[in-house]
């Protein structure tokens, strides 16, 4: 078989597919395979149909593909919704009762594995997940000791009996997997073993900790909640104040109180919650209190498609809040950047005293991949808090617009923040001249930031004639498509800073004869932003807004059609 295998696990919500995913991707990575996995869910706690795609390759992969090489059927009605992704080469694995008649008498290759009966032999249906894990491990011929060790680790708190049963279960699955003789031979790479496997959620959480985040509050909202739960798990170890807010309005105001008192705070939310935070973002702008917000996008308007993906909230982030004020918006496209940019967000918020927003989406957040290890000694937690003196003025007018920020109990001055227009001391004023000075002062900070602005990255040919522009989570799929197309006229400009537009925007765009933009939304919000600031227009738009991420095949096909 090929060097690039796509496995799909299809079953019901509440079955524990996530457990299988987490175990198998780790085992594959530790065996030296490149892995990438992503999950698409229906918005329900039980039943329905959810699928997880796991890609195993000899090369670095970071994209979702349509094709299914191996389909593991874990419940009834698990094939219908993904029927159009099956090919004549797809191998369907599952028990007889889960595979509907219409597929049995068709072109597909079906391998019957009686998962439920095997599970009952071990002790009950609860063992189905571990048997599935064993099955996949057997198919990929992973070292059995490694698999057994992973089970021992996974069930370490559950006692000997449960661990032993699960070891039996995994062996049963493993033997079945080997018996299938699927002949998979994906090349391994020893170096992969030293890489680190993580999720999009973890990339944001780890980045936050590395940025010195010690306060997080949020109102739970998919797909953003994992970040606060991640920090809750590490609350004691790293001394992070974690609080579930009564609503997003509270969360955005609470983090302002936290920064005011010297914490480094963030909140995490999705579009609907972010909309509720708008007033608070505006408040952060005029009081010049730093804030960091993680906005994990999902398709709106309103409740929209709560468990699915979209890049539909760029405009929301760009224009959120009444009044005119500066902000910084990042959109990491891979987990290395997720860590770096989130780390940086805290330093920048502290330094420039502006809202810093990190835009991700459900696809980014719920995916797993391995990345090269990161040297954390490169990171610096930059603290810009100053000691106040007796005559301290919170909003002192300075050359670069940045007024030294004091905190209470650190110095002899009083720290007076005000949401009204204010004078340098923080006292309410309606003096028109002071008003102009203060508005200008706040915008000067954005000018000062341009020195640290992060350029767009060019991937592909340096002598491109056609430039594809993408931002955030489409990074992986566009990059892989470019690599597959291997065309000297083609390059991809990856924007990880979406606002302010990077300094090199105009330069890289004007080098191209043709401009294509790819966005996971309906109206090409980033394309509009670029047009607004550079006057340059895109000749072609590849847009998707059905709630699913772009697949590699469709990007390749669309790009071929444009040449």
């Amino acid at each position: 078989m090929k060097n690039d295998i796509s496995i799909v696990l299809s079953g019901e919500a509440g079955q524990g597919i996530k457990t299988v995913e987490l175990l198998i991707i780790r085992a594959l990575k530790n065996s030296g395979y490149n892995v990438f996995s992503t999950t698409e869910l229906m918005s329900r706690v039980r039943g329905g149909n959810n699928t997880t795609e796991i890609r195993v390759s000899n090369e670095r992969i970071e994209a979702y593909v349509d094709k299914i090489d191996i389909l593991i059927v874990l419940s009834k009605n698990a094939i219908l919704r993904i029927e159009n992704r099956l090919t004549k080469d797809t191998i369907i694995i599952g028990q007889d009762s889960f595979i509907e008649e219409k597929y049995k008498n068709s072109q597909y290759i079906i391998k019957y594995v009686a998962l439920s009966s095997l599970a009952k032999e071990v002790g009950g249906l609860i063992y189905s997940n571990v048997i599935t894990y064993g099955l996949l491990s057997g198919i990929f011929d992973i070292n059995l000791n490694l698999i057994k060790e992973s089970i021992t680790r996974h069930f370490s708190t559950k006692g000997k009996e449960i661990t032993d049963n699960n070891i039996n279960a995994v062996i049963k699955g493993y033997e079945k997997g080997k018996e299938l003789k699927l002949g998979i031979q994906v090349e391994k790479d020893e170096k992969i073993k030293n890489q680190v496997l993580l999720s999009g959620t973890e990339s944001i959480g780890i980045g936050a900790l590395a940025g010195g985040c010690n306060f997080i509050t949020a109102y739970p909202m998919s797909p953003s909640t994992g970040v606060i739960q991640f920090l809750a798990r590490h609350s004691e170890e790293f001394g992070v104040v974690v609080e579930q807010a009564e609503d997003e309005i509270s969360a955005i105001n609470m983090i302002q109180g936290a920064w005011y008192a010297g914490a480094r705070a963030m909140t995490t939310t999705s579009g609907g919650g972010f909309a509720l935070m708008e007033e608070g973002i505006s408040n952060a702008a005029i009081t010049e209190v730093p804030i960091v917000i993680h906005l994990a996008q999902r398709p709106g308007p309103s409740t929209g498609l709560p468990t699915r993906t979209e890049q539909g909230d760029l405009n929301l982030a760009l224009y959120a809040g009444h009044g005119e004020f500066p902000r910084i918006i990042f959109a990491p496209g891979n987990f290395t950047d997720g860590i770096y940019l989130t780390q940086k967000a805290f330093n920048l918020a502290d330094k420039f005293q502006v809202p810093v927003i990190i835009l991700t989406d459900q696809f980014y957040i719920d995916s797993f991949q391995s990345i090269k290890s990161i040297d954390f000694t490169d990171f610096k937690v930059e603290n810009f808090v100053t000691r106040t003196d007796k005559d301290y003025k919170r909003y002192k007018n300075t050359e670069d617009g940045i007024s030294p920020r004091g905190i209470p109990m650190q110095g002899d001055g009083f720290v007076r923040f005000d949401s009204h227009e204010h004078d340098e001391g923080g006292f309410i004023t309606e003096d028109p001249d002071i008003r102009i000075k203060m508005v200008d002062k706040r915008f000067k900070k954005l000018e000062s930031y341009s020195k640290e602005s992060i350029d767009a990255e060019i991937i592909g040919s340096k002598n491109y004639k056609t430039l594809i522009v993408g931002w955030g989570s489409t990074y992986g799929v566009i990059k892989e498509a470019i690599e597959k197309l291997n065309d000297n006229d083609l390059a991809f400009a990856y924007f990880k800073q979406v606002y302010p537009l990077p300094n090199n925007t105009k330069e890289i765009l004007s080098k191209a004869k043709e401009l294509i933009i790819i966005e996971n939304n309906a109206t090409s919000q980033f394309g509009q932003l670029i047009k607004r600031y550079t006057g340059m227009e895109f000749t072609n738009h590849i847009l998707k807004y059905n709630g699913m991420p772009f697949s590699l095949e469709e990007i390749i096909e669309k790009l071929k059609g444009m040449q």
Binding site: F238, A245, G257, A258
Partner: protein, 283 residues
């Protein structure tokens, strides 16, 4: 009497002559001074409204943020630096209307702050509409035939939610108000002080005389640690009781429950970041 919380130059206030806010400001400054509170250790978190402007007139630290949001800001401040004395201040519309949800949950958390609510049963800054505490049939330029909704009962709500200190004062009695405010500041845990005060411009019904005629002092035999008795008092509306209606200092505060302070009592700003330890998360 001047206090350490006075500015060298007395700021011009935006209040109407005769407004109850003047007494509340004066008494609050005196209470804090008499308790020997260092202004550097105090933060007033205020919302928006005539009452919230109080923060402008106290020479100390302040965060004068959004309408209705003083409590979340105060929560963030106290949780990040428990050494600070934090007062969340605003009017009845600010705290009970716009900030109603925060009011409920700040009480549930039992964060160690003083929540001062200037309650004049009317909106002053927006020129005279009904507030959540306006009495029924109160006529305004917006409620032309009078208020039809039940008035919000902050005392009963606070006691029901387990508030550990619930008091009501009247701005017309500065001596008692000062005693109550001092008790509230000294109290460990969330303390609500709802202060009746007249709005001379927009509430001609609930004026100084009305408050005087419609309130009474809880007597010395009243047991303010009895929750059910306190609830009964909270529902008295023929005449509203004044004083500390309920108190219970036994519950742990929000900050004391935070895992972040389990092994390290220092405020967050004093802590170092251990990057090496964070790096280990990647393995």
């Amino acid at each position: 009497m001047t206090t350490i919380f006075d500015f060298d130059q007395i700021p011009e206030t935006s209040w109407c002559p005769g407004c109850g806010n003047f007494s509340i400001l004066k008494v609050l400054k005196e209470a804090l001074d008499e308790l020997k509170i260092d202004p550097k250790n105090l933060v007033i978190s205020a919302g928006i409204g005539q009452a919230a402007k109080t923060s402008q007139y106290i020479n100390s630290n302040c965060f004068n943020g959004l309408h209705g949001r003083a409590l979340p800001v105060a929560t963030g401040i106290k949780a990040s630096n428990p050494d600070l004395i934090v007062v969340a201040e605003g009017g009845d519309g600010d705290m009970y209307g716009e900030g109603g949800n925060h009011f409920i949950h700040a009480i549930r958390r039992n964060i160690d702050i003083v929540n001062i609510v200037h309650n004049n049963m009317v909106y002053g800054l927006t020129l005279g509409q009904a507030s959540p505490t306006s009495r029924k049939e109160f006529k305004t330029p917006l409620q032309l035939e009078g208020v039809s909704s039940e008035p919000f009962n902050p005392i009963a709500v606070a006691i029901s939610l387990g508030a550990s200190f619930v008091a009501r004062a009247f701005s017309g009695d500065m001596k008692q108000m000062k005693e109550i405010l001092k008790e509230a500041v000294k109290h460990k845990g969330y303390a609500l002080v709802d202060i009746f005060h007249p709005c001379v411009s927009f509430n001609k019904i609930n004026n100084f005389k009305w408050f005087k005629d419609n309130t009474y002092y809880l007597n010395e035999n009243y047991d303010n640690t009895d929750k059910m008795e306190a609830l009964k008092k909270a529902f008295e509306t023929d005449k509203f009781p004044l004083g500390v209606i309920y108190t219970n200092g036994k519950n742990k505060t929000f900050e004391e429950n935070l895992i972040a302070y389990k092994n390290d009592k220092r405020p967050l700003y004093k802590r170092e970041v251990d990057l090496e330890k964070i790096e280990k998360l990647l393995n």
